[in-house]
């Protein structure tokens, strides 16, 4: 995962979560869509970042990275 973060590789092959899940996930704070940037999910409204651990997006308000 860490080398993907450095290269910003978001090709389908390297994507750590499915496209379908990505399309329905939202930021738990402002409910805006999220985009995969490197190995983080980034909220499109305010830039809240969420990590993905072992293929599981950690979408918790308490664990948001600014």
């Amino acid at each position: 995962m860490s080398d993907k973060a450095e290269t910003g590789d978001t090709t389908a092959e390297a994507q750590p979560i499915s496209q379908e899940l990505l399309e329905i996930l939202a930021c738990p704070i402002d409910k805006s869509p999220v985009k995969l940037v490197g190995d983080r999910l980034v909220c499109q409204e305010q830039g809240h970042k969420y990590r993905i651990e072992d293929g599981i997006p950690i979408m918790l308000v308490d664990e948001v990275e600014q």
């Binding site: 996930l25 072992d54 950690i58 979408m59």
Partner: protein
């Protein structure tokens, strides 16, 4: 992370396997009823909130195109993934999610299910509002949870016992409170059923890994229960003073989000 959520994660991180293996959480007429209400379809998507061991997500999986299983505890999700994966639930995806702040877009789901979990939620009204938000118009909300008896003394007794057994228990609601919460969130209740569930006392304690001083306290609490609680919960005490079992009820509720 606030103290309550931290405690929930510690509790379910430590007891994850017990909940995967638990017959209370696995099979039964209650789960069959929930699935019968599910109105699935190959193009439909369901969310299982606070999936725990993953039983409900797995039961819904054959009926939907896609099921998302969410839980607050990553370790619980690891166990759920292994459980579901070993049984062919290939269309189940996982997300670490708080029931009261769901990380999904508005109207993303045809169905939202939540089974035997809301008694751990700090604000169940907020959870129901979130469930309604992520449902599409016409989508269905499927709930199962322990309810307290209508008798206030018996209800207070059961919540007190549940908190002693497992400090992450917040409060079980009465059946009427669930109907009110659904209505307040814009959901129309279409069906409810009550299922009695008998809890063998030792298994009930073992699953939560209740430590010894509190086991003794709980045994005394049940043995000396006030008559209203003893009757409403069918508390069975052996002649030697051991508590054999008690019986509470679970509500199953089906509600629909308005079309407009």
């Amino acid at each position: 992370m606030d103290d309550h959520r931290q405690r929930v994660r510690e509790q379910f991180g430590a007891t994850a396997e017990g909940y995967v293996a638990s017959p209370t959480h696995a099979a039964g007429d209650d789960l069959a009823q929930l699935v019968a209400w599910a109105e699935g379809g190959p193009a439909k998507r369901a969310l299982d909130v606070a999936t725990g061991g993953g039983h409900t997500a797995l039961a819904l999986a054959p009926h939907y195109g896609r099921v998302i299983a969410g839980d607050l505890t990553p370790r619980m999700l690891d166990r759920a993934r292994a459980f579901i994966g070993a049984r062919g639930g290939a269309n189940v995806a996982l997300a670490c999610a708080d029931a009261e702040a769901l990380p999904f877009r508005d109207a993303a789901f045809d169905a939202v299910a939540c089974r035997i979990a809301p008694h751990h939620f700090g604000d169940p009204a907020r959870f129901v509002r979130e469930a309604a938000r992520v449902l599409r118009p016409g989508g269905i909300f499927l709930l199962e949870d322990s309810v307290i008896p209508d008798d206030p003394a018996a209800g207070a007794f059961l919540n007190r016992a549940e908190v002693l057994r497992d400090p992450t228990h917040v409060r079980s609601l009465a059946a009427a409170e669930w109907r009110d919460l659904a209505a307040a969130a814009g959901l129309t209740v279409e069906a409810t059923r009550l299922f009695p569930k008998t809890h063998p006392f030792d298994d009930w304690l073992a699953r939560a890994r209740t430590p010894e001083p509190r086991r003794a306290e709980l045994t005394a609490l049940f043995r000396d229960a006030p008559p209203a609680a003893r009757a409403a919960l069918a508390i069975a005490v052996a002649p030697d003073g051991r508590v054999r079992s008690y019986t509470d009820q679970k509500i199953l509720l089906k509600a629909r989000k308005g079309e407009c």
